[in-house]
Subunit: 444 residues, 2 copies
């Protein structure tokens, strides 16, 4: 077994993301001498509740720290799920044309609609939500799914109850804490009060046992899931929608990785009949089109979705978008339109296929070590199980022994303990090199 | 007098932005038949408090409505402050190069730092905050000032007290309401409870009487001001900083129009000694570089600024940026860097000078009607007084008689009643045409 060779050290309790709250006072802050007089403004109690740093900057920090100690190490970064392959020419040409047009009287554009350019909204409705009856008016173009999670949290406010998958993308929990939906953090359980953690692992086919899940106002649900890579089946999503209907809940469905689905799993919650009355969908061009740095996404709020008093959610979300956002960059939007053209879409399929071939290579490498490996079929993430081990220790040991950066599953919630997430984004030669380094450990 | 000829109609009480709260129930929402079953999710009480639509979409709506009734009208849009002049080539060439690089292995970039590219942060520190001792680490690159206002509100949370200029840019008040800092709206006064409205008009040289202003945790202050066009003098800003220090308040200073200052008024709050201990500054490339559609801005949070418990504000803002934002578009950031190059900066000065020449033309036109005209000297906005009149009526009448779109001052708060804001953004020939149309009214 892999861990018997690599991780012979005793796994110490994982306290990395469980740093005790620091107690700040004007005296200790002044110790550094550059800090000025204290204001009399109270620190936001919600931010006070948040533990440690946001996961991905924390990974970057540890990576940098490692590189300082080991300047000659040839790192392979399979941690933060960041795209690496060039964007097809047809898409950057469209953006370059838009950019250069901004230097002409005819091509100059100032503010666009806060909700996005109508041509793009129509293209998303037509190409991504074909046959699902989603209207262009229900699509709000954004600068990315993570940003829209926060805008949705501003929409929902502090007085809603929330459930989320455990493990899950940390922005859901952290933004819940920031807007005041969460209670105190419990060091014992590794969970915040008031939030319902829906455990999703191989034992339940990565789908929560809804018969024991309490009702909440909001259910965050990500499929294909980040970090587990599991795409919910049609049957699972039908159950989820029925559960939300029975409880009068709103599902916030994150489909940022939908383009990676290779089987018959739904690409959108709106493939499920009745979902429009209970679901919002957030999505993104980041992983679909390599737009992680370009910044473009969207959110669908169906007109049918209404609060308990009958008020349409779309009206409030429109107000949030108009007040707290000023539209996505018009350059990025021109790129988004090109992504959805016939040729652009096909070119992107090739990039996605490339990443999914990487995923296969990594699944094979970890499997060859005798480990249980999940994901990698409908998502660019591989979720590897290290039974009984602390995921931050596994993260550190893999980094030290192979110079491969992963993400400790614990960073995605207590349900991620014993796992690491491995990203399939990368150049093929680096993925092959990662595979070689991994396979070598087991035979050393 | 202008208004005796143009606005002979009796000014009815202005109820436009004071629509009564609608009472929603599942029965009336279902009347439209497309609305589904109600969820059991309560509508956010803060959004329930918000009145009417956000100002600028409301202006657009009225503009569209007018055009439908008058399809042949040749509208001149001096309403929403939207840039109209092409971006200098040197800047769009830099962006196009960045974009096309994304199609190459060498030039491809994924996620950047959430806080912005260090080269841009350094350039902002060096070029905009020269000699003010602001470090690159204290600068957070954003997708625009309006978006950062909301992120700052998430930072501050519901439990702070807030003061703001009246009139002021509506995003401050609306975002205050959304995060729960405000009380109920009072139809009599046109003000939300719990917010302190600091009246700024010609009677006090557009600077509040601080001797009668109650202490608040946060003071939103915009200079050059939108909508009045007034740039606070050094003396005024010294008073403001002293007031904040005495009260332990945090100033959120909006310098989005600083590039338009033509006299000795400070371009940044950080020109005032001691400001780093009491101020955050938000700013933008939108008006400085015609980036309204490109989306780029920044926020400065000095390390010296600390909460009452000594905790540095910058640490919490960094956490908000990392959790709720994923960085500005790397294309826009490449453009921002070009804006701050020697040649880029000079090219932009020419565009700003062009708009300020427009401002002069408009100031002259309104002045020639015997009206009191403010602004237009340090800002691209002209603030015109119509004593005793309702600003939405003035807006409508100017639209009907001259086909010029302005903004009713009332949209910026009760202190804006009797005023309209006129934007100097526009092509010269249209500004001259607007001037002709305006001057014609007075002699009709």
């Amino acid at each position: 077994m892999y861990h018997s060779q690599l991780l012979s050290s005793i796994c110490i309790p994982c306290a990395v993301l469980l740093q005790p709250k620091k107690s700040w006072s004007s005296s200790n802050s002044k110790a550094g001498t550059t800090i000025g007089d204290c204001t009399k403004v109270p620190r936001n109690v919600n931010l006070e509740k948040l533990r440690s740093g946001y996961l991905f900057p924390e990974i970057s920090r540890r990576e940098s720290e490692y590189m300082q100690k080991n300047p000659d190490a040839s790192l392979i970064r399979l941690g933060i799920g960041d795209t690496t392959q060039p964007i097809p020419d047809i898409i950057t040409l469209a953006m370059a044309e838009q950019v250069r047009g901004l230097s002409t009287i005819q091509g100059y554009r100032g503010y666009g609609a806060e909700q996005g350019n109508m041509a793009l909204r129509k293209a998303i409705a037509g190409k991504i939500y074909q046959d699902m009856g989603i209207k262009a008016d229900e699509i709000f173009v954004s600068d990315g799914a993570q940003c829209d999670i926060s805008r949705l949290q501003m929409l929902l406010g502090a007085n809603v109850t929330v459930a989320l998958q455990d493990p899950s993308f940390p922005a859901y929990i952290d933004s819940s804490v920031i807007v005041g939906q969460a209670g105190e953090f419990d060091d014992e359980t590794g969970k915040y009060g008031n939030l319902i953690y829906m455990n999703c692992g191989p034992e339940n086919n990565f789908f929560p046992d809804l018969s024991t899940t309490p009702r909440t106002d909001v259910i965050f649900f990500c499929s294909p899931n980040n970090p587990t890579g599991h795409a919910a089946t049609r049957q699972q999503l039908k159950q989820l929608v029925a559960f939300a209907k029975a409880n009068g809940s709103i599902i916030v469905y994150d489909s940022a990785y939908a383009a990676y689905i290779t089987d018959e799993s739904p690409r959108s919650i709106f493939e499920i009949p009745g979902a429009k009355e209970v679901a919002i969908e957030i999505s993104s061009f980041s992983k679909f089109a390599g737009f992680t740095g370009v910044r473009l996404g969207w959110t669908v709020v169906p007109e049918e979705l209404v609060y308990s008093n009958g008020f349409p959610v779309i009206k409030d979300f429109n107000r949030i978008v108009c007040t707290c956002f000023n539209g996505a960059s018009n350059i990025a939007q021109a790129g988004g339109l090109a992504c959805l053209s016939t040729d652009g879409y096909q070119a992107l399929r090739n990039v996605i296929d490339y990443y999914m071939e990487n995923a296969k290579i990594l699944v094979d490498a970890f499997s060859s070590l005798g480990l249980s490996v999940y994901g990698g079929k409908n998502a660019p993430y591989i979720w590897v199980h290290f039974p009984g081990l602390c995921s931050w220790n596994v993260f550190s040991e893999i980094l030290e022994k192979t110079n491969i950066v992963t993400v400790p599953g614990r960073g995605f919630g207590p349900g991620g303990e014993e796992y690491i997430r491995v990203s399939a984004f990368g150049q093929r030669q680096r993925i092959l090199e990662a595979s070689r380094r991994l396979k070598k450990i087991s035979i050393d």
